[in-house]
Point group: C2
DNA sequence: AGGTGCAGGTGGTCTAGCCCACCAGATATT
DNA sequence: AATATCTGGTGGGCTAGACCACCTGCACCT
């Protein structure tokens, strides 16, 4: 096992990625055991460095450690998957559904004060408005209206947005590293317009998700409001008891 | 600053708790700076140990570090607070509201197969059923039905449940250390019964939270279903973009 | 057969260092 | 006055050890 000692990516992160790949490829299977000392020998690093690699994987729930026994690849949770910062496309893929979308509106305009403040923008700046109907296996699932500063991706094309994942686009083409998001979930009644789009009855229950996405440097990237069909969508979360 | 070197609680955890107290008491204020080397001198531990204390606080968002500058007490987020594993009482207190409750049903019975499996119980075991209307500042906010294995707290009294926080009871009296929970959030329509209890119109939107709470050893402690008024309750979450 | 005790492996914690890139403010140079 | 350079402090990363509590399986003894 060879690491690149002169890379800018830290050793522990290279180890983490290696293990993650091995788990995804099936080379390491659920239940398989690892050991900190064995890893530190295999990768020729100190044990503390191996530990740091394992820590991240433990926090993701990919591995779990038992004192006195070892560290093991976690059995994949049946059913419940934790809510992650995923776009609709990625979210649906994880649920085993195929995402598609229909653009309802795609425009650029000068945001009002509230939105400008949410996106930390100067008063002259513009935003893209991306309004899409989201389908899973061709069934309407959500309608989503997002706002992204034009400065971040001035070349954004309707066709690009149409094809698929906005987040992948931002990460791969515009080189913006998404890091975290704040979400607020509420229950509401579908408006007539939403009901039409989603093919549900007016005033049927919907799950409304308002999300602000941030880059690694805490710059707001996107503000988005998604209205999910209450009868077909559920959000799974894992909570920790921390602090006191 | 003195640590108990012979305690069973690790040094880094003692440091973490000390800092947490100092922040809560106002002795350390938002914006104040700390340094790993300074802490390691002050507490007479190695720098790695001081680092480990800071890591936990960073992950909680209480502190944040800037390379080349230092580690600082984070300004408290206005408004948005992240969803934590809290009982209703604690949740409302954080929102600045006073929680109270009215017991609708309190009984013990033999669970059906589905519930038994969720709580990992043997076939003879019994559970408490605790069904409560939850109020915030005397306004109905949610109705909540929880199931707890009788074995965990055989002495549970109706009066105890009536007084307040079930979670505090479990932690302080029955010495059960809660560690995490899985939640599923969905939007739905209030049933007639729920609408009556919550003083809302029948078929008004409600946020349904189904939660399973686990102890540190992964034993399921409680399965609970809460129905929140859609017009008065929202759930805030923080998401991280991790792994791939 | 059934228990007892021991040895080796494991994760958890901790030490006392090291080098690096980065940042800020002071100092020196133009 | 503006600019470059130095300097001390910071977090990030890493090392090569150490001791502990805990778990497991094995050998030994009863």
């Amino acid at each position: 096992m060879k690491l690149n000692r002169h890379s800018f990516t830290p050793l522990y992160h290279q180890i983490e990625q290696t293990l993650r790949r091995q788990i995804e490829s099936g080379e390491l299977r659920p239940g398989d055991g690892l050991s900190e000392r064995e890893l530190s020998e295999r990768f020729e690093v100190s044990r503390m460095t191996a530990r740091q690699a394992l820590r991240a994987l433990r926090e993701d729930g990919v591995l779990h450690s038992e004192r006195g026994r070892g560290t093991f690849v976690t059995e994949p949770k049946l059913n419940v998957q934790t809510r992650q910062l995923l776009g609709f496309t990625e979210d649906m893929r994880r649920r085993g559904l195929k995402a598609s979308s229909r653009i309802i509106r795609f425009s650029r305009f000068k945001p009002d004060e509230a939105l400008r403040r949410q996106l930390h923008l100067e008063s002259g700046a513009e935003v893209w408005e991306i309004s899409r109907l989201r389908l899973a296996d061709r069934i309407p699932m959500a309608c989503e209206t997002g706002f992204v500063p034009v400065d971040l991706c001035p070349q954004l094309k309707r066709a690009e947005v149409e094809r698929g994942s906005l987040y992948r686009l931002l990460e791969e083409i515009y080189n913006i590293r998404l890091s975290r998001a704040d979400e607020i979930l509420t229950a509401a009644c579908a408006t007539r317009e939403e009901a039409d789009l989603l093919s549900i009855k007016p005033r049927a229950p919907v799950l409304v998700v308002q999300r602000t996405v941030y880059a690694a440097d805490e710059t707001p990237i996107e503000v988005v409001r998604s209205v999910y069909r209450g009868d077909r969508y559920q959000a799974a979360i894992q909570l920790k008891r921390s602090g006191r």
